[in-house]
Amino acid sequence: MTDLTRSTADELAQSLAAKEVSSVEVTQALVDRIGAVDGAIHAFLHVDADGALATAADIDDRRARGEQLSYLAGVPIAVKDVLATRGMPTTCGSKILDGWIPPYDATVTAKLKAAGLPILGKTNMDEFAMGSSTEHSAYGPTHNPWDTTRIPGGSGGGSAAAVAAFEAPLAIGTDTGGSIRQPGALTGTVGVKPTYGGVSRYGLVAMASSLDQAGPVTRTVLDAALLHELIAGHDPRDSTSIPDAVPAVVAAARRADVKGLRIGIVKELGGEGFQPGVQARFTEAVDLLTAAGAEVVEVSIPSTKYALGAYYLVMPSEASSNLAKFDAMRYGVRVPPAGVDDPSAEQVMATSRDAGFGDEVKRRIILGTYALSSGYYDAYYGSAQKVRTVLARDFDAAFADVDLLVSPTSPTTAYPLGEKLDDPLAMYLGDVATIPANLVGIPGLSLPVGLADEDGLPVGLQFLAPQKADDRLYNAAAALERLLEEKWGGTLLSRAPELEVVR
């Protein structure tokens, strides 16, 4: 019998539809796999085996009765712990939400439930999605399945590692500055940040409202497209959600043809500061696209050099305000001040926030509070918004010339745990290539393109497309994925070291 944990979501969907396998069998296999390897990986903060198996049994029943089901019905999924899940803990990787159980579902969660996907559990993340290594989780780091002494990327390291370690075929991530794409690159998985507004943010605990976007984390481009199509679409509960029809991403992934496409390499997002092995795999992948009939040109977007600076003003500004609600008054951990008999609400808020938030969160709240202060607003927040306008104009100009842009997803491969923990600026630099997409609201996809020679770790290539043209990402990425797998004679993840299994 095939190892169900190794199957793609598309393969599982087909087997389930053909009744060759039951959802309970698939779900049980994954629950067992989580039990066996997650001690070493720590991709999950919460595993809901009973809930997932109950959904699986229900789907099996309904399928047996001949009910018309969603294509992915019965295919299990892991959800980043930043999305509200009714009746299941949602901590955002923070102590301040320890034990909080939402009384409502995020729209993405509701769509997964409505489509009958068993939810395996909630995945680890940097606290409130603030970080690029998942080391800022209050519940301990996630380990990279390729080398458990290394980070899996972040903030969505849990979702990426779960998929890479075959603990789930599908996962939901969220991407504010690269939190889906960078972990994808570092774990050899596919990660997509849809167009801003493409997927509802209702129930996604906000870090930076104007940048956050939920998206798929998978092992194949087609799986990502299937999940994308399921979770996307207009939501009247989210005013920033796009009312247009969802781009035909699944059809695009099946098309997989780059012949005649013009693809631009962003000059500023590569070269100096990028690891040689990353640059080498990137260049080879671009050559494959050229060989397949794409016209590849170099494009300059000089304003991208201001993106990181603008991001570290806009994001903390919005975060400082979004995180004000965590005040221990209505929910969350309440820590009264020590030695005070009759503390005021203000004192309780202060001590609870002090105890509940980690250092990186506090750092960003302080940065944002400062950037929004009267007298500094224009110089900081105001200027950053202007950079966004300039960036958007420059990307528009670039897309007037090319269909897609490409760059390495991350300047480096996965680095050892602890290496950059005390050097926030070095860690922030890891998002230099992913951040521009968030600032201008365009979609981006990271595809594994090989292993770096110097460390044997995965490298990702990022495709960027104009707003609402998410389908272009899937078409080109699926084409490149096929070319690479032909060259490798299999998937990249099949070359990942076997994890030690605990029984």
Binding site: A84, Y104, Y202, S209, P236, T240, L372, S373, S374
Partner: protein, 498 residues
């Protein structure tokens, strides 16, 4: 607590000029809240009209209530404002337990309506009040401080928060500095609030009840020495719950500021709370320019850009402008200018309209609202709308008078009974045994006794001097303890002495 040294109002104005502005918060009567679908009904059980959005549960997002935007635009148009072609919400960031998100979603430098004006009348003189802006925002929850003597947070044992009010749509109307002769400032402030109440009430977008907090006026006031151009430090007085209180709060703050400045002191920039019982203000939260709300555009909401066609349609739905309406009512009712001014001053225009609609003559409606009810309002300090008597009840009582069953004097007792909740006017008359004696037999006997008791007067009346009839009527009424129809008594006296 330091005792305030007050300078009498008139004396204060000999040395200082008041600089005054008013902020009015109007709670809209939309069925649902500003950013979620929760109901807005007043007086529900605490924390029953809440949801993830208005409780600011992690992940919840706001969506603008289109009906509230419509109300805001209509209000802006009624205040002669420009309506923004494009505007945004902004976050006003500060921590307070009654505010779930710890920021208030409001508007900052891009209000929906701006640059308007209204004209108000005081003692026959018209004053133009310039409106700087009218913007949309959400209300906070309501904190209830339990224990302690004042009901305020200081000294309370604990506090409870009701989030039913959190997220109710508010429109804040901000005036520019109100430029009027200093001695008129208190009356103009009152007239302005009263005018806005009528105006907004006429639009049907709010209950505009000061006593229930659906209309809240804040008085911003500072003094500058006469001849000086330097502005003084201002206080912001809240908790002003009636028109009369608006006037009193302005007067009190002028006296208080003058007292501080005369003594060489410095006025503290702070929020103060008006005390209805004493007519004074008490210090609330200190509010300095160091308070930094870190406003920035609300990224969770799309900008609001009302089309010009929509604005035009909404303009067409505006009711008759108050000045035109008043002129029409004055002519319909046959009121003098003075009658009309008193009516407006008492905030009784709509009460009289409704009383007339319920079948009472305008003169009788005026008699009750400007006489009896205005007196009760002044004595109790309650808003005339909050006396516990409705225009329909006034009309019922007047109908009993018209039917000759009670008289004006007895009616006062009926009002007492109705206000005390003893039942309908009819029931009160029966229960309190107030019905006038219309039995001619009993009245006739009393008239006979009065004539016997005052033969001089009787002789004069027989001789055609009807002017002395009052003495005999008085005697009859006294014997009947007021429970007689004076008109019928007069008729009986004249019949018997003709």
């Amino acid at each position: 607590m330091t005792v305030e040294t007050l300078v009498p109002f008139e004396e204060a104005l000999t040395r200082y000029d008041p600089v005054m502005g008013l902020e009015i918060h109007i709670e809209l009567n939309t069925a649902t809240k500003m950013f979620c679908g929760c109901p807005t009904e007043f007086g529900a059980e605490p924390n029953t009209q809440v949801c993830p959005v208005c409780l600011a549960l992690p992940g919840a997002l706001p969506v603008v209530n289109a009906k509230a935007v419509e109300s805001a635009i209509r209000m802006g148009l009624a205040l002669n404002c420009e309506i923004a072609e494009w505007c945004r919400f902004a976050r006003k960031n500060y921590f307070y337990p009654d505010m779930p998100k710890n920021f208030q979603t409001s508007q900052y430098d891009e209000p929906i309506a701006f640059d308007g004006w209204v004209d108000v009348e005081v003692d026959g003189e018209t004053f133009r009040i310039e409106i700087e802006r009218a913007h949309m925002e959400e209300d906070t929850g309501k904190a209830l401080h339990v224990g302690g003597s004042t009901g305020r947070i200081h000294g309370a044992d604990f506090s409870l928060v009701d989030y039913n009010r959190a997220g109710i749509p508010l429109i804040e109307i901000v005036t520019r500095t109100i430029e009027v002769p200093p001695e008129k400032a208190p009356a103009v402030a009152r007239a302005y609030v009263s005018y806005v109440r009528d105006l907004i009430g006429g639009l049907g977008v709010s209950d505009v009840r000061m006593d229930q907090g659906s209309l809240r006026a804040d008085v911003n006031l500072s003094l500058k020495p006469k001849g000086s151009t330097t502005l003084g430090t201002r206080s912001e007085t809240k908790n002003v719950n009636s028109f009369r209180s608006v006037e009193r709060a302005v007067r009190y703050e002028i006296s208080r500021h003058a007292g501080i400045l005369d003594a060489g002191g410095k006025v503290v920039q702070e929020t103060r709370h008006f005390q209805e019982d004493t007519g004074t203000t008490l210090s609330g939260r200190e509010k300095s320019d160091a308070d930094d709300y870190r406003y920035f555009p609300e990224p969770d909401l799309a900008p609001v850009s009302p089309s010009r066609e929509w604005v035009k349609e909404l303009r067409a739905t505006l009711p008759e402008p108050p000045a035109v309406r008043r002129a029409r009512l004055q002519s319909d009712w046959g009121f003098s200018d003075l009658d009309m001014r008193d009516t407006i001053g008492a905030g009784a225009l709509d009460l009289i309209v409704e009383t007339v609609e319920a079948g009472t003559t305008p003169q009788a409606a005026k008699k009750w609202w400007l006489g009896e009810m205005a007196r009760r309002s002044n004595e109790s300090g309650q808003d005339i709308h909050a006396l516990g008597i409705t225009p329909q009840q006034v009309a019922e009582i007047q109908a009993l008078i018209d039917a000759g069953r009670i008289n004006d004097k007895l009616a006062r007792s009926v009002f007492d009974g109705v206000i005390a909740g003893e039942g309908t006017a009819e029931e009160v008359v029966v229960a309190r045994k107030l019905e006038v004696v219309s039995d001619d037999g009993a009245l006739g006997a009393a008239v006979d006794r009065a004539i016997e008791g005052d033969p001089d007067a009787a002789a004069k009346i027989r001789a055609g001097n009807l002017g002395v009839a009052g003495a005999l009527i008085g005697a009859v009424m006294k014997e009947m303890r007021g429970q007689a129809d004076a008109g019928r008594v007069r008729e009986l006296i004249l019949e018997k002495l003709s």
